[in-house]
């Protein structure tokens, strides 16, 4: 084993992918925590005295985030009130187990925990959705619902910030994915460390400059309890090409990850290029780039027995919705027994 790069005299236990330096356990902990504090301090992530919800899935990123935030909060006196916020998608054999991990974290770190479930919010569990739509495209539902669920939970808890465990690898991957998909609006904002999506609760990413590999090593050496099983519905499926590309690039040179983030930060989308503007969903008042937000469209499809409604082009969906509305208008008027009609008026509205 090579000696620790700080010349502390101990043997190194790992080689840092970010800088290529070799560090011993003590020096690694110090460097890892210092860097996250540096990020929080320099990017001015939190105001003292505020409440921060940590999006906790029970996975390595959010577990390390909760642990380090608690540690730094005490060490540097951020004066933050930390709470855990989890989403229960209702996936048997995956989320029920990982929620137990979060509950363990709640006890270990002494933080309050709030669980929002898809069943309560939308009336459907992921198990039920998959029974309806099958294994293909089910991730679309889960992804769209999760984002809203986190925001709704944050609103309910009246927190000032929502911290998520996105790491450097995630950000770099998103940059690549948005280029491959030609998604300029997201390319523009995906490297921001603080994003405010209009509901007043900024989302922050304290692990933005932290490598996934180092997070795993940190959790391992700190003996943190986390859940590492992949989702039963989408093992290895997510984000495909961009993820494979990034892993391959990492083999050639791990610092590529920081380079990609650097590129993402300095890229500027041409002012003349058209990017969608954000408005509010006319049905649930959630921030959306369309008239009706994706969650409402997906939900409407589920409730009407047209589960594929929201999958595919949004222009097609708009047309379908309009047609449906026309049909429903006439149907409600003609039907004496209103409750028998499954038109929009009778859908359970989401709060």
């Amino acid at each position: 084993m090579p000696a620790c790069s700080t010349k502390c005299g101990k043997n190194a236990i790992l080689k840092r992918p970010k800088t290529g330096d070799a560090l011993c356990k003590t020096c690694f902990f110090e460097a890892f925590e210092n860097e996250i504090h540096f990020t929080i301090e320099r990017a001015k992530l939190f105001r003292p005295g505020s409440t921060v919800a940590i999006g906790a899935s029970g996975g390595k990123d959010s577990t390390v985030l909760a642990y380090v935030l608690k540690l730094l909060n005490e060490k540097y006196n951020y004066q933050l009130k930390l709470v855990l916020l989890s989403i229960d998608e209702g996936i048997t054999g995956y989320r029920d187990d990982s929620l137990n991990t979060v509950k363990q974290n709640q006890e270990d770190y002494g933080m309050p925990l709030k669980i929002m479930s898809y069943k309560d919010l939308y009336g459907w569990t992921m198990d039920e959705i998959v029974a309806e739509i099958g294994r293909k495209n089910n991730c679309t539902f889960c992804g769209v619902f999760r984002r809203q669920a986190l925001d709704r939970g944050a609103n309910l808890l009246k927190v000032d910030y929502l911290a998520t465990g996105h790491n450097a690898d995630d950000i770099a991957e998103t940059v690549l994915m948005n280029i491959l998909r030609g998604d300029l609006a997201r390319l523009n904002r995906c490297t921001s460390i603080i994003t405010d999506c209009g509901d007043g609760i900024p989302r922050v990413k304290p692990l933005k400059y932290t490598f996934e590999k180092e997070i795993v090593m940190y959790a391992y050496f700190r003996k943190l309890v986390y859940f590492s099983t992949e989702c039963v519905f989408a093992p290895n499926a997510y984000r495909g090409h961009a993820r494979v590309l990034l892993k391959d690039l990492e083999k050639i040179d791990p610092t590529v990850i920081m380079n990609i983030i650097q590129s993402g930060e300095t890229i500027k989308v041409n002012e003349t290029a058209k990017t969608p503007s954000l408005t509010r969903c006319t049905q649930c008042n959630y921030v959306s780039s369309q008239e009706v937000c994706k969650a409402c469209i997906l939900l409407e499809g589920l409730n009407k027995g047209l589960p594929r409604l929201g999958i595919g082009k949004s222009s097609k969906v708009k047309r379908l919705l309009k047609e449906n509305e026309e049909k429903n208008k006439s149907c409600c008027r003609n039907d004496t027994q209103e409750s028998a009609c499954i038109c929009k008026a009778n859908l359970p509205s989401i709060k």
Partner: protein, 402 residues
């Protein structure tokens, strides 16, 4: 953990359409609806020979015309290479110049071949030069020859006609430029920048205001992704756009950037043109970022035929933040951006480097140690801002020499 949908209103997968396996169901040419088609483009559009060739010609002229950059009698350096694209480019130019209609091209092409086959045998290199000479003289263009190895970092380049003195030690000359330890990614970056700089020098010596380079859509897409991966995101508009305006005197244009290889190969076949060919070397895709990116793009394009156009068009919509430009990089002429107020990836890496090489003093408290560290980081002599983020990481040895 799964993080599908972390983006705003996710539409996973809906943007990339998978390839339909050869979707053509027979019928007439897509354009004239009269003749039998002879070529299938984008796996779905069939054209007859006449419509295809007219389309290719139009596409070439439309891009040049739209830019409104080149004026009559301007001298334009044509950077020749081996292979299909250069061959098509020369033929497109010749047929445009020979027209007697309004659409005649009115600028003066000046052909230059920068010889950089120093890894081959002298005999093979001579054969390539001879073939290029034959092809260009068949199209009635005079050719200028420049030796890459002899021109690196020269203010004045020797330009010869007809023949070029080739030297067995050219490879040694080029290798001597690099650190022994330089990796292939950085080596290729440097060679790319040097070639660009040589072309600019030659253009100035030959009084050309413009340079045409023969990059295809595929080259543009993979070099765009390469730029992103190397931290050159802000250089994408110049390095992959139609016009590279980094040099104040000479602009580099990419007139073939909307063509793909099949179009130009078929263009050459229909015109009975034989491009100068070189046996491609076996490439390990994992040997450099550049190799991986071109492999990745070609591979993805197979299954998702919109890949290259999407990437190229994404690049077209990126711009340089003019208000952020501080100075130009001494090596690649790219803009060095002023430090923005927030924290940047480069700064984070710098701090990581510092904290992993600093002996922690365990006699003082953690916060005090951190404070010392940040003081040191804030007061450490800022690296001379002569080179951009990526060039400054290329090669210590070389940067000291330039």
């Amino acid at each position: 953990m799964c993080s599908v949908g972390e983006g705003f209103e996710d539409e996973e997968g809906s943007r990339m359409e998978k390839a339909a396996s050869a979707n053509w169901k027979g019928g007439k040419c897509n354009k004239c609806r009269e003749n039998d088609p002879v070529i299938l483009l984008r796996k779905k559009d069939a054209y007859c020979k006449a419509c295809f060739l007219a389309g290719a010609n139009h596409k070439f002229k439309a891009l040049l015309g739209k830019s409104k950059l080149i004026h009559p009698k301007d001298r334009v350096l044509i950077a020749c290479e081996t292979g299909h694209p250069t061959m098509s480019l020369l033929h497109l130019l010749r047929s445009g110049l020979d027209l007697n209609t309004q659409k005649k091209l009115r600028f003066e092409p000046v052909l230059v071949y920068v010889e950089d086959n120093y890894h081959m045998s002298i005999g093979e290199r001579q054969r390539i030069i001879r073939s290029i000479n034959n092809e260009t003289s068949r199209l009635k263009f005079p050719l200028h020859l420049v030796s890459f190895a002899d021109s690196i970092n020269r203010k004045n380049v020797l330009i010869s006609q007809k023949s070029l003195a080739l030297n067995r030690c050219d490879q040694g000359k080029v290798n001597a430029m690099f650190d022994q330890s330089i990796n292939k990614t950085n080596r290729r970056q440097l060679l790319h920048i040097m070639k660009r700089n040589i072309l600019l020098t030659v253009a100035k010596q030959l009084n050309c205001k413009y340079i045409f380079t023969p990059e295809l859509s595929m080259d543009i897409a993979s070099s765009l992704l390469t730029n992103i991966a190397l931290g050159r995101g802000s250089q994408v508009p110049d390095d992959t756009g139609f016009c590279d305006g980094r040099d104040s005197e000479v602009k580099i244009l990419r007139p073939l950037r909307n063509f793909d290889m099949k179009e130009l190969a078929m263009y050459n076949v229909f015109h009975k043109l034989e491009p100068v060919s070189v046996n491609p070397a076996q490439i390990d895709q994992y040997s450099s970022v550049q190799d991986l990116m071109s492999y990745f793009i070609i591979d993805l394009q197979e299954n998702y035929p919109a890949t290259i156009t999407t990437v190229v068009k994404t690049g077209d919509k990126l711009a340089l933040n003019q208000s952020m430009i501080a100075v130009q990089c001494k090596l690649c002429q790219s803009a060095i951006l002023r430090n923005s107020k927030g924290l940047s990836s480069a700064e984070s890496t710098r701090f990581s480097k510092l904290t992993s090489n600093e002996l922690p003093d365990h006699n003082v408290s953690g916060p005090e140690r951190y404070l010392k560290l940040t003081e040191k980081s804030d007061h450490s002599p800022q690296e001379r801002q002569q080179y951009c983020f990526s060039c400054s990481k290329l090669s210590r040895h070389l940067l000291e020499e330039i």
